[in-house]
């Protein structure tokens, strides 16, 4: 099996689905690039080259560059989805959701319920998230908890290239609106990814490590850090199960609860701001439904409740890392003694 980058995995998923289904279209700012300009066509393929090569293969009728008008084109994706197409809209940075949120949550997310189950809105919003790029406060946020909060939307957050391909193909084939999160510092990550199309079902968590002592639930990029910590502590005889929920809506509650029942200890790692994030949500779930299994208080590893800072020194302090996860795991182990 060939090694592929996260970027290639996304590109391949889009290309395969566009070949398979002529109703799949892409739209977004500079998804091809160079529209109307005198230089090269397909000049960008998105700001980080993720959609490069798709316009030459599928043409500008299916890979649509847009003006910088997120409300209009994200809303257009919702409208197109409700009327027979399967659009994949690119919201360049999830921070820009503020410009177009109404079209996502009041329109696309509610069509089916409000219209008595008669609407089908198979749209995907691909969007970049996360800190670590020195991109400062308006280009670094996580914000997936916001979408997770909103009924009618599904939220996928792949943790690796393999996950990205399978979850994106599932997202495109899914008949509900899906917000698909791509961490901007993960695009060059590589792992073996099958050439053929495959789907990863939503709402089925993946156990990336298995151990008897502590359950670590980690979201998106944080799964890598959790794995590192699990590998390190295994050598010391501390066994960690790492749960990658893959989607926060739907959330695989059963797997999380089962793991906590088995280990009795829970650390949740979430790069999103600490209030009302996925960590607090899972903490509430476990407190309500597996309280008696807990041998130690739940620990949440998150950034502080601040905007994402620009200066490298501050951003590095901001992002949860392996050290904090390890400290949290050791603390829940220590709480037993």
């Amino acid at each position: 099996m060939a090694k592929k980058s996260f970027r290639q995995a996304i590109n391949e998923a889009l290309a395969m689905e566009m070949r398979r289904d002529p109703t799949v279209i892409l739209m977004g700012e500079d998804v091809a690039g160079g529209m109307g300009a005198a230089g090269e066509d397909d000049a960008w393929g998105g700001p980080l080259g993720v959609t490069k090569g798709l316009m030459p293969e599928f043409g500008r009728d299916r890979v649509l560059d847009t003006p910088i008008s997120e409300s209009a084109f994200v809303g257009a994706a919702a409208g197109a989805a409700a009327t027979g197409l399967r659009p994949v809209a690119e919201l360049m940075f999830v921070d820009f959701m503020g410009v177009c949120l109404d079209q996502i949550f009041n329109q696309a997310g509610k069509f089916r319920y409000m219209f008595g189950g008669k609407a089908v809105t198979p749209m995907v919003v691909r969007t970049m998230y996360g800190a670590g790029f020195r991109a400062a406060s308006q280009h670094s946020q996580c914000l997936y908890p916001v979408f997770t909060h909103m009924p009618g939307l599904k939220v996928a957050i792949p943790s690796s290239p393999y996950e990205a391909k399978g979850l994106l193909i599932q997202a495109i084939r899914d008949d509900d609106p899906v917000i698909f999160f791509e961490h901007k510092v993960m695009y060059d990550d590589e792992e073996e990814v099958p050439d053929e199309a495959y789907t990863i079902p939503f709402g089925e968590a993946n156990l990336t490590r298995e151990g008897d002592d502590v359950t670590i639930v980690a979201i998106g990029r944080m799964v890598q850090f959790a794995n590192q910590v699990a590998d390190k502590l295994e050598g010391e005889g501390i066994g960690c199960t790492v749960v990658d929920p893959r989607t926060t809506s739907p959330l695989d509650e059963d797997t999380i609860l089962e793991c906590v029942e088995d280990t009795g200890r829970l650390v949740i790692v979430d790069e999103a701001s600490p209030r009302c994030n996925i960590a607090t949500d899972i903490s509430a779930l476990v407190s309500e439904r597996a309280f008696s299994a807990l041998k130690a208080p739940i620990r949440m590893v998150t950034p502080p409740h601040t905007p994402v800072p620009f200066a490298a020194e501050l951003e590095d302090l901001y992002i949860p890392g392996p050290e904090q996860i390890e400290e949290a795991v050791r603390s829940v182990m220590g709480a037993q003694a």
């Binding site: 230089g39 090269e40 905007p307």
Partner: protein, 322 residues
């Protein structure tokens, strides 16, 4: 040369040269790896920021864009503080927390560069409302790009400014490209007709010509200050660098930037026109060039040596009280 005094001309030239050198230097330093993050440079567009802001004072507010360094300098922000901010230093204008895309100095009426395209025009409606309500005599100016001109926020702001009769001016800086997309494609209709559709006057301006911008801005700002309501300037200009640093600019034809640098250089045009008047001679402008070069050298040197923020800074200034 209009009614500009020698002092005004010196100020205008100094600011334009400062912007040019600042941006050329940031380009070099970024390429050398010493500046992190996303940086969008204003080189080539100097006459717009300076031509507009020469008509403003510290009570007047501007809102900028992601391409904000030129607006900051033209509005009087401290150049060394800006450079430190771009380096992420504790001594930067925003303590190193904002960076290039969020430089601001409210004491100078500079309401911030902005990471959100179209983020500025609504803010400027608010600043203009404050000026009107509080009777400060101030005006507020939104700089927005050709890309930002297509955001709903911008078009809604045109309407709001008109119906509230706000002392606001919208300056659409059209450098030909929204990121990689040509403005000739992405803008439906025309900027002037858009203004007129909302009941505003709109004027096309050659953004390479400081004097053209100055004159056009003087008139619409005076009108706004006198209670005559909002107007729009469509300033046509060019950027010498990419959308962001690192942009290979393959969407631009070969030789485009070289041609612009040779034929559409606002500083060269300024020098030629001022030289013809005899108000400011080449030697005086050369001296300004040397002085600005020294300032930029100092700003970079001090920024490299300056300390970063501390761990304690991470959690300060999220709220006033909490």
């Amino acid at each position: 040369m209009l009614q500009l005094s020698k002092e005004d001309l010196v100020r205008a030239y100094t600011q334009m040269r400062t912007i040019r050198d600042f941006e050329e230097r940031v380009h070099e330093e970024f390429a050398g790896g010493s500046i992190p993050g996303f940086v969008h440079l204003y080189a080539g567009e100097e006459a717009s920021a300076v031509g507009v802001c020469m008509n403003l004072n510290d009570k007047d507010n501007i809102a900028s864009t992601h391409r904000g360094h030129g607006h900051c300098i033209a509005k009087g922000c401290d150049v060394k503080g800006m450079m430190q901010e771009i380096y992420g230093r504790r001594g930067g204008l925003c303590g190193g927390k904002g960076g290039s895309m969020h430089i601001a100095d409210l004491s100078k009426g500079m309401m911030g560069a902005n990471g959100i395209v179209g983020g500025g025009p609504p803010l400027i409606c608010g600043a203009a409302l404050s000026a009107k309500t509080l009777g400060t005599g101030g005006v507020a100016v939104a700089f927005v790009g050709d890309g930002g001109s297509n955001q709903g926020t911008t078009l809604e702001s045109y309407n709001l400014a008109k119906v509230w009769n706000l002392p606001a001016v919208f300056v659409v800086e059209d450098n030909g490209y929204a990121e990689s997309t040509a403005s000739s494609w992405s803008v439906g209709g025309s900027q002037i007709k858009r203004a007129e559709a909302f009941g505003m006057e709109g004027f096309e301006v050659d953004g390479h010509d400081f004097f053209a911008v100055y004159e056009a801005a003087r008139d619409v700002i005076a009108k706004a200050r006198d209670g005559g309501g909002p107007s729009l300037l469509h300033v046509r200009l060019n950027r010498y660098f990419g959308h962001f640093e690192g942009d290979a600019m393959t969407y631009r034809p070969d030789g485009e930037v070289d041609g612009l640098r040779q034929q559409r250089d606002s500083l060269a045009i300024f020098r030629q026109r001022v030289g013809e008047t005899g108000l400011l001679d080449a030697a005086e402008m050369d001296e300004i060039d040397r002085s600005v070069a020294g300032l930029i050298d100092e700003a970079v040197g001090e920024s490299v040596a300056a300390p970063p923020p501390t761990r304690d800074d991470l959690t300060t200034d999220v709220y006033v009280t909490y």
